[in-house]
Assembly symmetry: C2
Homo-oligomer: 335 residues x 2
Amino acid sequence: MIVHGYAAAESGGKFEPFEYEPQPLKPNEIGVQVICSGLCHSDLHMLDNDWGITGYPFVPGHEVIGIVREVGEAVTHLKAGQRVGIGWQSASCMHCESCRSGENHLCGESEGTCAGRYGGFADYVQVDSRFAIPIPDAIDSKHAGPLLCGGVTVFSPLFHYGVRSTMKVGVVGIGGLGHMAVQFARAFGCEVYAFSHTPAKEAEAMSFGATHFINSRDEKAVGGVAGSLDFILSTVFAQLEWGVYLNALRPNGRMCLVASPTENITIPPMSLLLGQRSLSGSIIGSPQMLYRMLDFAARHNVVPQIELMPMSQINEAFEKLRLNEARYRIVLSNE
Amino acid sequence: MIVHGYAAAESGGKFEPFEYEPQPLKPNEIGVQVICSGLCHSDLHMLDNDWGITGYPFVPGHEVIGIVREVGEAVTHLKAGQRVGIGWQSASCMHCESCRSGENHLCGESEGTCAGRYGGFADYVQVDSRFAIPIPDAIDSKHAGPLLCGGVTVFSPLFHYGVRSTMKVGVVGIGGLGHMAVQFARAFGCEVYAFSHTPAKEAEAMSFGATHFINSRDEKAVGGVAGSLDFILSTVFAQLEWGVYLNALRPNGRMCLVASPTENITIPPMSLLLGQRSLSGSIIGSPQMLYRMLDFAARHNVVPQIELMPMSQINEAFEKLRLNEARYRIVLSNE
C-alpha cells in the first residue's frame, strides 16, 4: 500500500503531496485510516525546526482521528472499525521508571507522532496501539483532534497539580491552548480569570467560561489580582513579567507553564519564598490522562472552537496559524 | 523592670549594651527569661538592613530559648517556669486566611521577633504566647535555639512538599541551614546528596547523614546526578547554575529554595516543562510546624552543631558569622 500525505522538504518550506510506503505493522501497532488531523502550534515549531529535532521530508500532524484499519498480532484491546485518536506521542519504551509508573509521556525515549517519522497529515498512519485512544461517541471527530494534544496539555496540569473546584484559576493567553484551558478549568468548578493582551477576545473568553477577563497589558488590572489566584496556567510562548504573575498567586499557589519562551526566563526568587509558591512545568499527558481527559470533555461538553479545512489546504492553514489568525484550532479533514 | 540586651545603633554597626523598659504584658502575651539565643544568618541581613525592614537601635535574636516568667491574663496553655522557644515569628494577625488555615507564618501582618521590636539577644523578651513553643525535655537549650528558625526553615519544606523515605534528596550548601537539612532528610529515611563547594566539608557532611557528597564546583560530578533526585533543598544565598540543579531532578521532582539571592534568578523553562518539575519556595514554618519539628528532632536526635559563646561576645559572634567561619550555628548564652 501507499500512504498519501503532505510533506515539507526543508525548514519553513511549503507542503507538497508526498507518498511513502509504510513499514510492516509491528505486533503492538495498529494502522489507522485518518479522518482528520488537528493543526497544533508545535507543528509550526517542527516545520521551522525550532527544537532541532525535525527530519525532512517532514509530514506534520499529531492530533489524529481515524478508524482502525488493521491491528498487529499482539493487539487485543482495539479492533478494526473502531474510532481512535493519536496525540503528540506515538510510542514509548514501556520499561523505564516513567513508563512503569504510567507516565509514559515523561519517558526519555518517547517517540513523537511527527518527529523522526511521518505524521498525521496523510490518509493513513501507524502507531503503537497503547497510544491510540478510543474516542467517546459523544465527541465529534473534528473536535476530538485538538483535544488529543492541545486539550490534554492543559487538562493534565489541572489534574496532576490537584486543581479543585474551590480554587481561583488564571489562564494566561486565550488561544489554541488557552481557550480549552478556560473551558476545562470552568468545568472543574473553578472561578476562571482569563489573561489576554487582546481585549477583543473578552466576549469569547467569557463564552468559554471565564468569570473574569484581565487585559494583560493593563498593569493596574493585573496588579489588582495580586495574591488572589490559587493556580495560573501559562499557555503563551512570549516572555512575561514573571514576577507579576507569581505575585498574583495566593500563598501556596502554583504557576504552571505548558508553553514557554525558548530563551531563559528571569524570576524574582522572593516571590517563591515569601508565599511558598511554586513555578512548575507540564508537558502533554500520559495515555491514561488522555482517557481521563476525553471522558471528562465528553461529560462536561468541553469543545474546542475550530476551523475545518480540507487537508489539501495545508499551506493556507499553516500560514493562518503563523499569522496568529486561527480561532482557535484548525482541523484538516480528509472527508 | 528593665530589659538588658545588646543593640546596634546603625546599619552594620557594633553592638553595645542596651536597656529598655518592656511594654505592659498584653492578655495573650508571655514574658520569657532568656537562657540563650541562636545567631542566624538573617540576623546579619537584619543588622545590615539588607531587606529594608530594620529599625535602630536594633536588638537581634530570633532563636530564643527561655523560661516563662509571667503570662498574660488570656494565656491558659503555658505557665510560669515552663521552658519555651521562640523563632523568627513573634505574632500574626490570627484572623486572615493564612492564620485561619494554621499557616500563620504566611500571614501578611506577621511580626518578626527582632523586626520592628526588640529581639532575643537580651535577658528578657515578650511574645504572643501562640508563638512560644514548649521545648521537649530531650533537647538541650543550647541546641533548641537553632532549631527554632534554621531548623524549621529546612524541616518545613521537607514535610510540606511531601518528602518521603523512598526519595533521594539533595541539600545544596552545608552550612547553618544545610547541616540540619542533611540530618532531617536522613531522619526522614531518604538517601541524601550533600552539595558543597568546600570539599573539606565532606567528612562532616557524611557524619550529619549524607550518603553522597558532591563538590558543587565539579561540573562533572554535578552533571553525574542528572535526572536522579526527587527533591533538592537549596540553602544558599549565592547565584547557582539553576538549570544544572533543575536537571538533576527526576521527572516530577522539585527544587525548593529556603534561601536565595536578593537579585533575580535565571532559569531555563524547558527544564521545568520536560520533566514536569517544580521550583518552589518555603519560608520558616507555622507554630504547628514548630511543634512537629521539635517532636521529630527529639525522637530522631537531630542536633545542630553549635559554638556556644557568652552573650557579651555578640560582636565577635557576628564577625565570625560574617566571615563564614561559624561551624555551624553560634548560640549566645546568658548563663
